[in-house]
């Protein structure tokens, strides 16, 4: 047990008379508890800031300054926190009055009173039980922090998705020549985004198998004629953001092939393969190669698909892809360090 960093697993003792403090410290230490002492108000303030699990205090220590110090600390506690305080009272002390007063001055604390002389077993089990209660509070704290973090992350991702959807819309609108075309292209792109989102979600939001991305993205083009898109390559796990980009690229390539390229003819085929170099740089090469389609000519005005693939693969691989409008079939080849993608 460390007793620092707000770990809430140690005992703070405030007992101005040396004998009491020493006795308590020895007893609790013998039973594997971490104990710190405060001799006076100044040290008490300091120690309270370190985040004790519980406070053990003797009756004589409770002068007005100490009462206020503790009260201030309790009032400043975060919502999950209710510090247990063990108070050791003298037999002759006016117990009812003290309990009433402390109850009023120390909000949101769990007060446990013992009458001296205290039976060792009672005190020990009381302190241990209070520490355990405190650790439960710590769990609550951790859960709250986790939730806050998740919400922040969720907000970030939702904003990001909305920005992506807006960008897709704006760019689809530019290239559209009719409302129907705009609607179809936009729906197709959103569907591709949605599919890869499912793949990433199924992978717990982390790296995704490249084959899974290919299969989900290209499935609409494979169902009718079997494996017209032949995907081949070693197992590679792709980072979340890179999966999004690759899926959208495959979507553009596949829809283009279906409209104008190899997949527009029954005998046309696409070969999608990738490989990793064996040297230290681990260079990834990704190729989309069409064959058996109608003769290809380079479009005079690059459309959404070409522009997107150029921009996205350049960003992802760190250098622009080769897009070759070979009469025998379109080829798109991207090469870059795998560390950017995997």
């Amino acid at each position: 047990m460390s007793g620092t960093d707000g770990s809430l697993d140690w005992v703070l003792i405030l007992a101005p008379y040396r004998r009491d403090a020493e006795y308590l410290k020895t007893l609790l230490t013998q039973h594997d508890m971490v104990v710190k002492q405060a001799a006076g108000p100044e040290e008490l303030a300091e120690r309270l800031n370190e985040g004790p699990g519980i406070l053990v205090v003797t009756h004589e220590a409770l002068n007005p300054e100490v009462l206020d110090l503790i009260g201030g600390h309790l009032a400043a506690q975060p919502s999950w926190s209710e510090m247990p305080i063990t108070v050791l009272l003298d037999r002759v002390a006016p117990q009812a009055r003290i309990r009433a007063e402390l109850g009023g001055r120390w909000p949101r604390s769990r007060q446990i009173f013992y009458q001296r002389p205290v039976a060792t077993l009672e005190l020990l089990s009381g302190v241990q039980s209070a520490l355990l209660a405190r650790l439960r509070q710590r769990d609550v704290r951790d859960h709250i922090e986790q939730e806050v973090e998740l919400r922040r992350e969720l907000n970030h991702r939702v904003k990001n998705i909305l920005a992506s959807v807006t960008a897709i819309f704006e760019m689809t609108r530019r290239g559209a020549t009719s409302l129907d075309q705009l609607a179809d292209d936009y729906a197709g792109r959103l569907q591709a985004l949605s599919k890869v989102h499912s793949v990433v979600f199924e992978a717990d939001g982390e790296a995704v198998d490249l084959t899974a991305i290919v299969e989900r993205t290209c499935s609409p083009y494979r169902s009718d004629a079997g494996d017209r898109i032949l995907a081949k390559g070693p197992p590679i796990r792709v980072k979340r953001d890179a999966s999004m980009t690759l899926a959208l690229c495959f979507h553009e390539l596949a829809t283009n092939a279906l409209k104008y390229g190899a997949l527009s003819r029954p005998e046309g085929r696409v070969r999608l393969d990738w490989e990793l170099s064996s040297d230290a740089d681990r260079i990834l090469t990704l190729r989309w190669i069409e064959s058996g389609g109608p003769p290809v000519t380079e479009p005079s005005n690059p459309g959404y698909g070409t522009r997107y693939i150029r921009s996205a693969l350049r960003g992802l691989f760190g250098s622009p892809p080769q897009i070759i409008f070979d009469p025998g079939g379109l080829r798109c080849i991207a090469v870059g360090p795998s560390s950017r993608i995997c």
């Binding site: 807006t166 897709i168 530019r174 953001d241 996205a312 350049r314 960003g315 992802l316």
Partner: protein
């Protein structure tokens, strides 16, 4: 004698590739040269030498955290002026000395066209 200056080469520091795609197209349509993009401050530093850049657009939140201001400062040291492009207008306003100004997200072509002129 021609009075036309060569088109400025604009770098975009932004981690969402679809926004890069959109802005890249807008930049080119406005007659500038798109010099490339970096998704994080770390990537900017690692790849700066591969870009030919006159000016930069910089997002505030990047892949390595809220590093946009640091990226703009780093570019400034190398003589490259920046404009912030962000939804975090308040954060951008905390660093007036690091940029010529801020373009709000979502970005309109008109706003982008106006503000790119500041680089002249």
């Amino acid at each position: 004698m021609s009075l036309t200056l060569p088109p400025l080469r604009i770098l975009y520091v932004e981690d969402n590739p679809l926004i890069v795609f959109h802005v890249e197209a807008m930049i080119e349509d406005l007659g500038y040269i798109f010099a490339g993009s970096a998704g994080s401050f770390a990537e900017l530093v690692a790849e700066f030498d591969t870009f030919e850049v006159d000016a930069a657009l910089v997002d505030i939140d990047l892949a390595d955290g809220r590093t946009g201001p640091a990226a703009a400062a780093w570019l400034q040291e190398r003589g490259i002026p920046s404009i912030f492009v962000t939804g975090q207008m308040r954060v951008a306003a905390e660093y007036p000395q690091l940029s010529l100004g801020t373009i709000a997200k979502p970005i309109s072509t008109q706003d982008l066209a106006e503000k790119l002129k500041w680089f002249r």
